[in-house]
Structures are given as structure tokens and as C-alpha cells.
């Protein structure tokens, strides 16, 4: 009686173990996502025009082609990547497209009634940006063959990130929209560089913390019974805090500011495994928030509107009040696609797209969308845990946290859980920069997921101790 040999059984070789790639699962889920999106588009058309519009056929065809392309690239280059992420993103993207189409039609109907000519629909532009996003997703998957190489670009990323953040302040190309200076405009396109900056800065934070985490973690001083980092180690945290404040001061972009700071503090905590960073971060956040409340009128207005939007319902509170009315109109199950009045909420296609979903798909729809985000974030965090290198762990976790924070900040703002800040809803909102940047994030996450889940090239024989049977 002999223990079974790991490599062979008797003279025969062990049957080759194949890690499942789950690509067919992905394909199936993608089909489901496309089907859901198609139903959404059709119900919009039927509700508003009683017929299926040509644009819907085009949209479904384009989205299907793009997603099929993404799927094929994944299948052949990163076959072990997480099978759920791409379908979740696909569902969000196509739902966003359906809602943008619905709001396009609302504008069209309104202008037809007013006797004017309908404005150019945003649907083609959103489809184009989706195509660019998918193309860049593929590019990321193909170019970043090993995510660990990104660590080399730690400081380059910092530089790129800062340049991107500063771009909107440049005289010629920078544009101020709705009081926030976060746009650049060139050659007829406008772009929000902060969306790309968040990728660059996440790479920087991850690379930086991998190198410095030991000194940050181990050298401590005690204060009030808690261990705190030394003053000189506080430098990076202070720098991140100042960058966030600078974004707030110079670009009046509350959301991005919050995003970066939350990201850095979370990553510090993960990297150093010290809770004291969270406490310090929270204190700095409270300090920054208090300072900016007293220093900046626009922050004060946001907070006042948050506390009582109805006090100023015609002016500053208008957006949030309209958003609440929309959500109320939706109720439990929603008015139905095409049957509410989401066009009454300003910026329904961008910041307030969740109000539109809340109105037409109801609480049920909002919950479904939130759960989609939760799945995406959870899969991202899981990729972080599964990564075999610290840089990968930090990068995947960081990217997931950015996504989670962004969703929380914008949806919390739209639903008056927290003061309104002004960020796009990832994958749903109209807007090229957000869409492209988030597709690139997905590319990185899936590339890392593939790396984490790929079985080792050489199967290492494992000798399990086998209990002797009687």
C-alpha cells in the first residue's frame, strides 16, 4: 500500500488539472446584461413613441459588438480574470445608455411641443465614448501585461496625476462649469482630467506605500494610550491632505477632494495595518471640512441645502428638491421607464442620473443598481486580497475603494444622505472622461484578477498525508 503519487498514478500521468476560466459564465452574464439593457431601451421607446425606434436597434447592435469584442479579448488574453466584473459593468453601462436615450427623447418631445428643433441627442456621443472606453479597456489589458511593472511608474504617476489635476486651471483650455473648475476643453471636446488623475494617483499611492509601509507601520510614538506615527512619517499624509484641500480650494470640486483623501487614508490603513491612520485621517477630514465650511461660501451653501433643501427650493436647493420629488414619484416600483418626469431634475444625465433611475425604476431599481456596484466593489476588493504581491493588493483595493467612494458620494448626495458634491456616477452617467477612466479601471482590475487567479505554470506536486484506511 503506497500513498498515491502526485505526478503519476502507477505508470499513468496524473490527469491534468485545469483551473476553470469561467469565460462561458461571463458570456452568459453578458448576454443577460445586454438583454436587460435591450428591454430597458425598448420599454423607453414603447412608452414614449409606441414603437421601437431605429436608434434602439443601433444602440443594441453597437453595445453588443463592443461587449463581445471586450469579451473575446478577455477570453484570449486574460482568461482567468473574474467572470462577473465585465457583465456588471456592461449592465451599468447599457442601463446608463438607456436612461440617456430616455432623457434625449424627453428633450425631443419637449422641444417638439415648444415648436423648436430638437437638440442633438446625447446617445450617439455616449455610445462613442463607450467605444473609446472599451478600446482603452482592451488597450490596458493588452499593454499592461504585468501590473507589477506599474510600480516602476510610481513617481511618474504622481507627476501625471498632479498635472491632470492642474490642467483645468490652465488659462486657455480650462473651463468652469457650474462653479467647479474641473474641465478642459480642446478641439471641441471637453474632458474632466480628474477622472484619469484618480487612476494615476491610485498607482502612486500603491507604489509609494509598498515601499514606505514598513517605516510607517513600525516606528511609532505613543500618545494618549494610542500608538501614532512619528512626525516625519506623517509627511505623505499631510501632502495628500493638502492636495485634497488644493483641489477643493482652486477647483471648488468637493467630490474629487473627498475621493482622494478617503482613498489615501484607506490605503494607508491597509498598507500599514495601523488603525491610528484612520483616526488621524478622520481628524484631518473633520479639520478640513470645518475649515472649508467657514472659508468657502460654496461649501456653506452645499451644507445648508443639505440640511434644509426646501428653504431654498427655487434656487440653490432646486436640484436636490427636484431629485427628491423624482424619487418620491418613483416610490417602491417606479413609474416605469418613459413614464416619469426625470427630465425635470437638472443634470439628470450626469450627476443626477440616479434620481432618474429612482423615479422610473423605483426603490427596486435603485437597490438593484446599488447591488451591482456592491458586487463590482466586492470583486475588486477580493482581487486585492487574492493578489500575490503587495503592490497589486494595494492597487486593486485602491481602485475598488475609489469606485465605492465615488458611488457613495454621488448617490448619497443625490439622495440627501450627505451634502451634494458633484461627481459622476461610474458607468451610468453621461460623460466621456468618467466612462473612459472607469473602463480603464476595469481593465486594470481584470488584468490583476487574471494574474491572481492564474494557476502556476508548473504544477507543483503536493503530497497530502493520507490517513491509513483500515
Amino acid at each position: 500500500m503506497s500513498a498515491p503519487n502526485a505526478g503519476t498514478i502507477g505508470n499513468r500521468p496524473l490527469p491534468e488539472y485545469r483551473q476553470p476560466t469561467r469565460r462561458n459564465t461571463e458570456a452568459l452574464l453578458l448576454a443577460v446584461a445586454i438583454a436587460v439593457g435591450t428591454f430597458a431601451l425598448i420599454s423607453v421607446d414603447l412608452a414614449l413613441y409606441n414603437q421601437i425606434l431605429t436608434s434602439t436597434f443601433v444602440t443594441v447592435a453597437v453595445m453588443s459588438a463592443l461587449l463581445a469584442g471586450a469579451h473575446i479579448v478577455v477570453r484570449f488574453t486574460i482568461p482567468f480574470a473574474d467572470p462577473v466584473m465585465l457583465p456588471v459593468v456592461a449592465a451599468l453601462n447599457i442601463l446608463g445608455v438607456a436612461m440617456i436615450h430616455r432623457l434625449d427623447l424627453a428633450e425631443q418631445i419637449r422641444t417638439e411641443r415648444a415648436g423648436g428643433t430638437a437638440p442633438t441627442p446625447d446617445l450617439p456621443s455616449q455610445l462613442t465614448w463607450t467605444a473609446v472606453g472599451v478600446a482603452l479597456f482592451i488597450a490596458v489589458v493588452l499593454v499592461v501585461r504585468d501590473h507589477r511593472r506599474l510600480q516602476r511608474f510610481t513617481y511618474t504617476s504622481l507627476f501625471v496625476g498632479l498635472v491632470l489635476l492642474v490642467l483645468p486651471l490652465m488659462p486657455v483650455i480650462g473651463t468652469t462649469v457650474n462653479g467647479a473648475t474641473l474641465w478642459i476643453r480642446a478641439a471641441g471636446f471637453s474632458f474632466q482630467p480628474a477622472e484619469l488623475a484618480k487612476i494615476a494617483l491610485t498607482i502612486f499611492f500603491a507604489g509609494y506605500l509598498v515601499v514606505t509601509r514598513d517605516s510607517l507601520a513600525l516606528v511609532r510614538t505613543k500618545f494618549l494610550g494610542l500608538e501614532f506615527p512619528r512626525g516625519r512619517d506623517l509627511g505623505p499624509l499631510i501632502v495628500a491632505w493638502l492636495i485634497s484641500l488644493a483641489v477643493l480650494v482652486f477647483q471648488r470640486d468637493l467630490g474629487t477632494s473627498l475621493l482622494f483623501f478617503g482613498l489615501f487614508v484607506s490605503l494607508l490603513y491597509v498598507a500599514t495595518q495601523r488603525r491610528s491612520w484612520l483616526i488621524l485621517g478622520a481628524l484631518l477630514f473633520i479639520l478640513g471640512a470645518t475649515l472649508s465650511y467657514y472659508a468657502f461660501g460654496h461649501v456653506r451653501i452645499r451644507v445648508q441645502v443639505w440640511i434644509d433643501p426646501f428653504a431654498d427650493a427655487a434656487d440653490n436647493g432646486f436640484q436636490i428638491v427636484q431629485s427628491l420629488y423624482g424619487l418620491a414619484n418613483g416610490g417602491l416600483l417606479g413609474a416605469g421607464l418613459g413614464q416619469g418626469y426625470p427630465q425635470l431634475v437638472p443634470f439628470a444625465k450626469t450627476d443626477f442620473i440616479m434620481a432618474a433611475f429612482g423615479e422610473e425604476l423605483g426603490l427596486a431599481g435603485v437597490m438593484a443598481i446599488l447591488v451591482l456596484y456592491a458586487i463590482l466593489v466586492e470583486r475588486g476588493m477580493r482581487t486585492g486580497i487574492a493578489c500575490r504581491d503587495a503592490f497589486g493588493t494595494l492597487l486593486a483595493t485602491g481602485l475598488s475603494i475609489v469606485l465605492a467612494l465615488q458611488v457613495f458620494v454621488v448617490i448619497g448626495g443625490v439622495t440627501r444622505l450627505i451634502p451634494l458634491t458633484g461627481l459622476t456616477t461610474p458607468f451610468l452617467s453621461y460623460g466621456g472622461s468618467s466612462l473612459v477612466a472607469n473602463w480603464m479601471v476595469l481593465g486594470l482590475l481584470m488584468r490583476m484578477s487574471h494574474a491572481a487567479r492564474t494557476p502556476d505554470p508548473v504544477l507543483i506536486p503536493v503530497n497530502r498525508p493520507v490517513e491509513a484506511s483500515a
Binding site: 417638439e112 491597509v270 448617490i411
Partner: protein, 481 residues
């Protein structure tokens, strides 16, 4: 690092839960309050997708909502659009609602608080709330007679039941087709609306209520009422010369006949009214004084606004008149203006023993299940005349029709009272032709006022020639069995 990531995930889960709880609170708990908030436009838009209640005459709908296949689920249809347009108004996507459609909107749309129970039932049944019905006081035959009588000429007719104040006819001419303004075709609504607003006759004006015009000699009814209440009798003899020099003025007022109104330039009050003697009433006006005239006018409803529930313009008897102006005001000129509704109320006050009733257009409000929720209760507006003086005035009005200027209002077998009026407007423009009539003289059933804007020839006869036949037709329609 795994443990930290798990903890962070837990924090994110808490944040997600906070979002879910918050949005649940908004969409379920707070939603009813938000839905009914006053600034919520959705309420208005929602109206267009509900079945709107009908506007009824008796049990016959003159406006109702029929289901359609387009996005706005119901289309408003007016069965005799032009005929009743001045009462129903329109219900337009582009231009909002007017008339009863606007004033009774909460009933018709179903948002009225009295429908709470019904709304609740509909909610549980998963159906859209329904609208209630509004029944009008209009008499279809009288309305038709008035509309046909005006025959598209610029003018207005109001008929009132003197004992209740119920409006029996309310016609504005030229009229418009509310169907076209209430359609679902914005381009057509717009072009039709533009046509209507470009029309010099202003068809969208609700003339019987909104158009204030000098009443001319028809106002002599008010002056007569003031005289009767101040010691004069129908047989009082007053001066009626061919012309009267106005005090403190170089102007002379002439009779339209160019002659005196009686032997020796004197006339009885009754005869002065019958022949519409300008100089006699101007003299009376000066004698009675501006304040007496104005307060009598106000007892009939001048200088006050009415909501029937459509809002009527204020008829004016201006304050601070000097004697010359008072003389002109006494014959319905100078700055005295009145709506057709106001002049009908003058006739109705005389016919109802001196009691002026508040005019109203809505007879009943019915719930979605056609249960009667509210019935109009006639209300006294004011007492303008004692019953004796009212009877005297009515008798004098009968004299106008039987032996005076109002001969065209005669109905065989019925004692009809009335007063003509021909109001001068701008020089070179034809005068307004008025007629105020009541029938029958005893236990009157109808008081009517007819005005044709810039309708007639130069002479006093145009009130009789143009307006009296319409008044007769309307009165005959009301009296017809």
C-alpha cells in the same frame, strides 16, 4: 493586509446599507409628502395622464375626456365647442386651462380633497384616480338662441335666472373651438392660438364677463332705480328739453331725437325711460348727485368683482364726479363701464323684487361615482330696490317694450320688460348696441343682457334694432315649455 481589506469592506458595506436605508426612507416613507408638495411640477403633469371628469349640462357632457393611444392618455373633447367655449374654456397642453376647466380643475382632475376616499380606493385597486364632474346652470336652448342671435358678430349675451342668480346663457362672440386648443398636437395648438390672438375681434376674450363697455342708455335703469328710491315716482314730472346745458361746462347734451321728450319740454319719469330721454336723466343725475348714483350702482354690483366661479371684470362707476360728469354718467356715458353680466344683474335685480342675487355658473359638483358633493345655494348679493319700487321699475320697463324704444323685444302673449342702450364710443366708431330685458314681467324667469360691440348705426334705435331681437330669442327660449 487581508484583514484590513476585509474591515474596509465591512465599512463599505455599512455605507451601502446607509444608502439603501436612506433611499428606502425617501421613496417609501417620505414619498407621499414630497408628492403633494406645492412646488412639485409632477402633480400638474400627472393630471394630463388621468381621466378628467366631464362638464355637464343636465346629464349631457359638453366636455369629456376620451382615451387615446398617444402618450397623453386622454384627449379632451367638447361636443359643441364653440357654443359653450365661453363657459368651459379650454384645457391646453401649451397654454394651460381657462374657464371652468381652470376654476374647477381640482374637481375635474380628481385632486380635490373631497375625493380623498375615492382616491384611496383607486390607489388600492392600482388605478389612476378619476376626476369628478361639474354640472353647469346653463340652459342649452337659451345658450343656442344667444349664440345663433349673435351669429358671429362681436358681442356678448348673459342670461340670468333672477330669483336664483343661476346663469342661463353665457355667450361670447366670435367664439373659438376649444377642441383645437385642447388637442395633443402642439404645432396645431400653437398655430390656431396665434390665429386667434391675431384676430382683431379677439375671440379668446370672454366678453360677457371680461369686456367692460359703456352701457349707454341701458344704465338709465340704475338712474331710475336711484330716483325711485329717492322720492320720485313713475309719474313724477321732470324736465326733458331738447338739449340741456351741462353745469360748469360749455357742452350741451342733446336728445337723440333732437326734440323735447314731452309737451312743454316736460315728461314723466316713466315716459322718459320709455323714450330714453337723455336730458331728463341727465337732469335727474345732477339732481340726485354722484354719490346717490354711485351707491345705487354699487348695490347692483358695480365696483365689485364676481367669481361665478369664472372671474368677471369689475364694472365701474367712478368716484369724484363733478355735476357735468354726473349728468353724463347718469345716461351711462363718461367713465361708466359695465360687463354684460353686470347689466343682466341690473335687470335681474329689478325682476326679483329688488333683490340682486349673486350670479353662479356651477349647479352641482359630483364625485367620480356621480354622487352629488355640492349643490349651489342661491345667495342674495344685495337689495337694490324696495319691492314696491322694483315693481314700479318693472312696469316702466314693460312700457319701454310695449310703447317705447324696445319694441323688438316683444313676445306675443308675454309681458316683456326691457331697456335699450346705445353707447357712444370713440368719435367715428359705431356705438355699442345694448339691450337689457326681463320676462315675464310678473314672476320673472329670465333677465338678459345683450351687447353688440360697435355694432350699430349712429342713432339710439340700434339697441332696439340689433340687440333686442337677440334678447327676445333668448327669453323666448327660456320661457318655451
Amino acid at each position: 493586509m487581508t484583514r484590513q481589506i476585509r474591515r474596509l469592506s465591512a465599512v463599505l458595506l455599512v455605507m451601502l446599507t446607509a444608502l439603501l436605508i436612506n433611499v428606502s426612507v425617501i421613496q417609501v416613507w417620505l414619498a407621499p409628502g414630497y408628492r403633494n408638495a406645492s412646488g412639485n411640477q409632477r402633480v400638474l403633469l400627472e393630471e394630463y395622464s388621468r381621466e378628467r371628469g366631464p362638464i355637464l349640462l343636465g346629464n349631457t357632457p359638453i366636455a369629456r375626456s376620451i382615451p387615446t393611444n398617444d402618450q397623453l392618455k386622454y384627449l379632451r373633447k367638447y361636443s359643441s365647442g364653440e357654443l359653450f367655449a365661453s363657459a368651459t374654456g379650454f384645457y391646453s397642453l401649451v397654454y394651460g386651462a381657462t374657464g371652468i376647466e381652470r376654476t374647477e380643475n381640482s374637481v375635474l382632475s380628481g385632486s380635490d380633497d373631497r375625493f380623498f376616499v375615492d382616491r384611496l380606493q383607486q390607489l388600492f385597486a392600482g388605478r389612476q384616480p378619476r376626476g369628478g364632474a361639474v354640472q353647469l346652470t346653463l340652459n342649452p336652448k337659451a345658450q343656442k338662441a344667444a349664440f345663433d342671435g349673435l351669429a358671429g358678430r362681436t358681442g356678448a349675451v348673459v342670461a340670468i335666472n333672477p330669483t336664483t342668480g343661476a346663469i342661463l346663457a353665457l355667450v361670447s362672440s366670435p367664439s373659438f373651438d376649444p377642441n383645437r386648443l385642447s388637442s395633443h398636437d402642439p404645432a396645431d395648438i400653437r398655430s390656431y392660438y396665434d390665429t386667434l390672438t391675431a384676430d382683431p375681434a379677439k375671440p379668446l376674450q370672454n366678453r360677457p364677463l371680461a369686456m367692460t363697455l359703456p352701457p349707454g342708455s341701458a344704465f338709465k335703469l340704475v338712474t331710475t332705480a336711484a330716483a325711485l328710491e329717492n322720492g320720485y315716482t313713475p309719474s313724477s314730472v321732470i324736465p326733458g328739453p331738447a338739449s340741456l346745458k351741462l353745469p360748469n361746462s360749455s357742452r350741451e347734451l342733446r336728445n337723440w331725437t333732437g326734440k323735447g321728450c314731452g309737451p312743454g319740454d316736460k315728461t314723466t319719469l316713466a315716459n322718459a325711460l320709455a323714450v330714453s330721454c337723455n336730458t331728463a336723466f341727465a337732469w335727474l343725475g345732477i339732481k340726485l348727485g354722484a354719490d346717490v348714483l354711485r351707491s345705487k350702482a354699487e348695490e347692483f354690483g358695480f365696483n365689485d368683482s364676481f367669481a361665478v366661479p369664472l372671474r368677471a371684470a369689475i364694472s365701474r362707476f367712478p368716484p369724484g364726479l363733478d355735476p357735468a360728469q354726473t349728468a353724463m354718467a347718469a345716461i351711462g356715458q363718461f367713465d361708466v363701464t359695465a360687463t354684460a353680466l353686470q347689466m343682466a344683474m341690473v335687470g335681474a335685480g329689478a325682476a326679483n323684487n329688488g333683490m340682486v342675487m349673486s350670479p353662479y355658473l356651477v349647479q352641482e359638483v359630483l364625485g367620480p361615482d356621480l354622487a352629488v358633493l355640492e349643490t349651489a345655494t342661491p345667495a342674495r348679493y344685495n337689495t337694490a330696490l324696495s319691492p314696491e319700487n322694483a315693481a314700479a321699475l318693472v312696469k316702466m320697463m314693460v312700457g319701454v317694450v310695449e310703447n317705447g324704444t324696445g319694441s323688438n323685444a316683444q313676445i306675443p302673449g308675454v309681458a316683456v320688460g326691457g331697456k335699450t342702450g346705445t353707447a357712444q364710443t370713440a368719435p367715428g366708431r359705431p356705438p355699442h348696441a345694448w339691450f337689457v330685458g326681463i320676462a315675464p314681467a310678473i314672476s320673472s324667469q329670465v333677465a338678459v343682457a345683450v351687447v353688440l360691440e360697435n355694432g350699430g348705426g349712429a342713432a339710439e334705435i340700434s339697441g332696439n334694432r340689433l340687440a333686442a331681437p337677440i334678447a327676445r330669442a333668448v327669453m323666448a327660449a327660456v320661457l318655451a315649455p
